[in-house]
């Protein structure tokens, strides 16, 4: 055979005889003939500049070799957060999520043979509805940043207005994603400031901005806890301000914080979004993540929500329970250019993972994780603040599991990073590049997995650094 078909490989089952039979049945003499519809001059005739085929062993060796140049949060003590956190992942979780009936399935287009995934996603919706106290939850967005973008678009769809107000403390990537998402529909994003003392949003300033634009405000966004880790207190005031101009109130949450903090549905949110990574997903260098998206169950909102939604119904000819994708007339495969979003593949398996995570930890586990993270973060702040040359926390308001500290002594920030890495510490996100008013300030994060040994070591290393041992 002149074709390159006899490339023997475990993923390619047809034998030489079978290929002959198949070609005969089709009525062509070679596989190459099947590609005759491609104009000759377009055909690729060279050799692809790609690696040669690797065996499993070679593949694994090559990748493990490359990965020697990665350091993990097991190798180093990490105090990095800012949206992605190193929380507990029960062993039962990967054991379930990697079951091949789940992981190798497609979107449940054939619902009768996909009840497992559908029920799992319906339960996920139920869990998030319970946490947020908002009844209508989609079965996931890509991440919190895109969920925020979609929320801004939804506010305009619902209100027909085009100004979306956000606090100026947004995580930079989240803010930039929002700016991209709002470009197409020409929604204007306006920032309202935070109070440099408390670290919370400045309500008086928000009201001023509101007065200027109130006829055109589609929605007002606030985060709780916010990017600085600070717990926002005037969330219901912000909701009221949004409602005063018939705009929507949008709240961004860290779901872990809901072990301690009130649900956004209680304080007037119309839409809650969040990053679900902390609910059982590894950090994975930042993806895949889980965009939470919940709204009030209100007809106006239900028509406008983006994404897939699973409903509980029955079999056609019995009262037996059955699950199916529903409210699909909002979606791209039916509505095409009039759809509420273009989203198709979402992060279903991540949603299922968080259902399993919440089932395992239960309400008390969620509270314990939240409280343990909070207590350890408070301990770190106390110890850092004891160091001459450090102010911790910078903001006066209570924080959750993250806070901002400031180095008040003169130092060289590049050397600071190097010093930490040299001493086995990952952490401290420098806020200087994005928040010039917060010079020499760093965001640090602590979870229930951050050991006191690690915290004490971090404190000692910082103390040494400021005592001149880092060569600053």
């Amino acid at each position: 055979m002149t074709d390159s078909t006899r490339f023997v490989h475990p993923y390619l089952p047809q034998t030489e005889d079978q290929i002959k039979d198949m070609l005969a049945k089709i009525g062509v003499s070679s596989i190459d003939e099947l590609f005759n519809s491609i104009p000759k001059k377009l055909r690729f005739s060279g050799e692809l500049k790609l690696p040669k085929p690797h065996t499993e062993h070679q593949t694994l060796s090559r990748i493990k070799d490359i990965l020697q140049r990665n350091k993990t949060v097991d190798d180093y003590d990490s105090f990095l957060g800012g949206g992605i956190y190193h929380h507990s992942i029960p062993s039962a979780l990967p054991a379930l999520i990697n079951r091949s009936e789940f992981i190798t399935s497609y979107t449940p287009y054939a619902p009768e043979m996909s009840q497992g995934m559908l029920q799992g996603l319906w339960e996920y919706q139920s869990m998030i509805a319970e946490l947020t106290q908002l009844e209508l939850v989609n079965s996931s967005m890509y991440d919190m940043a895109t969920a925020l973008g979609e929320a801004a678009l939804m506010c305009t769809r619902v209100t027909k207005k085009e100004i979306f107000l956000v606090p100026s403390y947004l995580q930079p990537e989240r803010y930039q994603t929002l700016l991209t998402y709002t470009k197409g529909p020409q929604i204007k994003v306006k920032c309202y400031p935070f109070d440099p003392i408390t670290g919370r949003v400045n309500i008086e300033e928000l009201i001023k901005i509101f007065d200027t634009y109130k006829d055109n405000i589609s929605g007002i966004y606030i985060e709780n806890p916010n990017f600085f880790g600070v717990i926002e207190e005037e969330v219901s005031e912000v909701s009221k301000i949004a409602h005063n101009c018939n705009g929507l109130s949008v709240v961004g949450i860290d779901p872990i914080s809901l072990g301690i903090l009130q649900s956004p549905g209680y304080y007037g949110a119309d839409i809650a979004i969040g990053e679900g990574q902390g609910l059982g997903l590894p950090m994975n260098f930042g993806g895949p993540l889980l965009g939470l998206f919940a709204t009030k169950n209100d007809k106006r909102l239900a028509r406008a929500i983006p994404g897939r939604i699973i409903g509980l119904t029955t079999e056609k000819n019995s009262s037996n329970r059955a699950f199916t994708m529903t409210l699909q007339t909002r979606e791209q495969h039916i509505r095409r250019e009039k759809a509420t979003s273009n989203i198709c593949t979402n992060n279903a398996l991540c949603a299922l993972a968080s259902n399993i995570f919440l089932s395992l930890i239960g309400p008390n586990g969620l509270k314990n994780i939240a409280e343990s993270s909070m207590a350890r973060a408070a301990y770190l702040a106390e110890k850092l603040n004891d160091i001459d040359g450090i102010k911790a926390p910078v903001f006066t308001s209570q924080f959750f599991k993250e806070f901002v500290f400031q180095i008040t002594k003169r130092h060289h920030s590049d050397k600071f990073d190097e010093y930490l890495i040299k001493n086995g510490i990952l952490g401290g996100i420098s806020l200087t590049p994005n928040f010039p008013s917060l010079a020499n300030s760093y965001l640090v994060s602590v979870t229930e997995l951050t050991s006191y040994t690690a915290i004490n070591k971090f404190v000692k290393i910082l103390k040494d650094y400021l005592n001149g041992k880092g060569g600053n």
Binding site: L67, S88, T180, G287, T314, Q332
Partner: protein
């Protein structure tokens, strides 16, 4: 015989018993408690939770059993043949999952110092290079989280391209063929464009006259997939693209059907400017029941500066990988961080496993399998191929049950339900919209001839039954699954979307 598990549909919430726990964390010390109490007093009562959320309480085994049973009521590629057209449900190699589970992949934070993530960056850099080579593009971003997100990235690049030229006022339209996937028009609309739909020619390809009539100075670009959703290669592709380029429009290649062409023809050589890939299709990463996917986007040289930030660069002298933020015309960020990394690393492993020759063989075998099934299935009474009947198809084809419905009253939907009962995932049905009673079949390269034959035999059986008097066997299907036919109308009219809503109704 196929028989799916049929456990009762008790909800995890209904299995909950107060005070059971499924997981423990280190207990809080008395010092911890004091700090929590102190913090609580600093927080306004209005914002503190008064009672615990009502999520279920179960032991570890109960959770394991609940979800194990759910998995037994689900069907994946590992369960059986999954010829879902345009979704490329090929075998997902286990080595790729093994690689993705390494701690050096999972336990890495995106904000770590670049010197501590050189491994991750190298994988991203090389994967992007390989994908660019496969499509004939100049540079690739790995950030998009799914196919539609890749489309979004691509169309935003088209938008920004016209914006930087000061032409956005007149460049208001994106051309999309009527056979396009719904995400194409939905994406263009999200990016602020008007959609101009062009009808297909009777051979299933783009109607050049219709295209010429639709193109104007308002044309910002076109979205095409080649081979088309009908599994047919657009032979006039160069002319189509030159018509678009003539008005300074850009040509976007939807990579849904990339599995047909690896090593055979490259979108860049066809003249396309922007390409997306579905790693969860062509590059065998598991689809996870609806994601996470990954939809990298490649562009030609003159569009590199529009890519989202950052991309990964490499300094050979220092053997150092770094994030490149210098894209002067960047569309900005389209998500947080750098991409669905654990998906990327699976695709990286997959490309290594197949290599250059293997990927070409993948496309060859995918096309062989599709043509074999097309030939055999169009000979079955009641079924036909409407577009491209006598020509070879690419990696998929669209079978029509139009005659079967006309002659016997058995629809494409009924056929799909009967296939389910025999242990096959059905093809994509009722898409593309231009084919009546469509069954879009994509066998992929990883299925053996015996499997394809088994599927064809069932189609023959459906036909025999439909043309006999025993139709009820088809109309009752499926009966071997965990539920029979589902009341979708009730689901939409009386939506019960969470346990909370169920409790309120009961």
């Amino acid at each position: 015989m196929y028989k799916q598990a049929n456990w009762n549909k008790e909800l995890i919430f209904e299995k909950s018993r107060s005070k059971r726990i499924g997981y423990q964390i280190e207990e809080l010390t008395s010092e911890d408690r004091k700090r929590v109490e102190k913090a609580r007093t600093n927080i306004s009562k209005t914002i503190l939770r008064e009672s615990l959320p009502k999520i279920p309480e179960l032991t570890e085994l109960e959770v394991i059993r609940h979800f194990t049973r759910l998995s037994q009521m689900n069907y994946g590629v590992d369960s059986g043949f999954y010829p879902l057209g345009s979704c490329t449900m090929k075998y997902n190699p286990k080595i790729c999952d093994e690689v993705a589970s390494l701690p050096q992949i999972q336990h890495v934070h995106p904000y770590q110092h670049p010197s501590t993530v050189q491994g991750s960056l190298q994988i991203m850099y090389e994967l992007a290079e390989w994908l660019a080579e496969l499509s004939g593009m100049s540079k690739v971003t790995l950030q998009p989280a799914a196919g539609a997100h890749g489309e979004y990235t691509g169309i935003m690049i088209i938008r920004e391209y016209h914006a930087t030229k000061g032409n956005l006022d007149k460049k208001t339209e994106i051309i999309v063929p009527d056979s396009a996937h719904g995400t194409n028009p939905a994406t263009a609309s999200m990016c602020g464009f008007k959609i101009v739909v062009i009808p297909s020619h009777e051979d299933g390809c783009v109607d050049l006259n219709a295209l010429r009539a639709a193109v104007s100075e308002n044309t910002a670009g076109v979205m095409l997939t080649n081979p088309s959703t009908l599994g047919i290669f657009e032979q006039n592709i160069e002319e189509i693209i030159s018509i678009i380029h003539a008005v300074d429009g850009l040509a976007y290649y939807d990579g849904a059907n990339f599995n047909a062409i690896m090593g055979k023809v490259r979108p860049g050589d066809m003249g396309f400017d922007i390409v997306h890939y579905n790693l969860h299709k062509t590059f065998a990463t598991p689809h996870g029941g609806g994601g996470p996917g990954s939809g990298p986007v490649g562009v030609v040289k003159h569009l590199e500066s529009y890519l989202p930030v950052p991309t990964v660069g490499y300094n050979q002298e220092k053997n150092h990988y770094y994030f490149e933020y210098n894209h002067p015309n960047t569309i900005g960020k389209i998500r947080s961080y750098f991409g669905n990394f654990s998906v990327l690393v699976r695709a990286y492993a997959y490309i290594l496993r197949l290599g250059n020759r293997g990927l070409a063989a993948v496309s060859e075998m995918a096309v062989l399998n599709a043509n074999y099934m097309k030939k055999r299935s169009q000979d079955i009474k009641g079924f036909s191929v409407i577009y491209g009947k006598d020509k070879p198809c690419m990696h998929e084809y669209v079978l029509s049950a139009r005659d079967l419905l006309r002659d016997t009253g058995i629809s494409g939907l009924d056929v799909s339900k009967y296939l389910i009962d025999q242990g096959f995932h059905p093809p994509t049905i009722y898409f593309p919209l231009i084919v009546p009673e469509a069954l879009m079949i994509e066998p992929t390269e990883t299925e053996a001839k015996e499997v394809l034959d088994g599927f064809i035999e069932i189609l023959e059986e459906v036909s025999d039954i439909a043309y006999s008097e025993e139709k009820s066997r088809i109309l009752q299907a499926p009966i071997n699954t965990s539920v029979k036919r589902i009341d979708d109308v009730k689901a939409a009219r009386n939506p019960i979307l969470s346990f909370k809503m169920l409790e309120e109704k009961e």
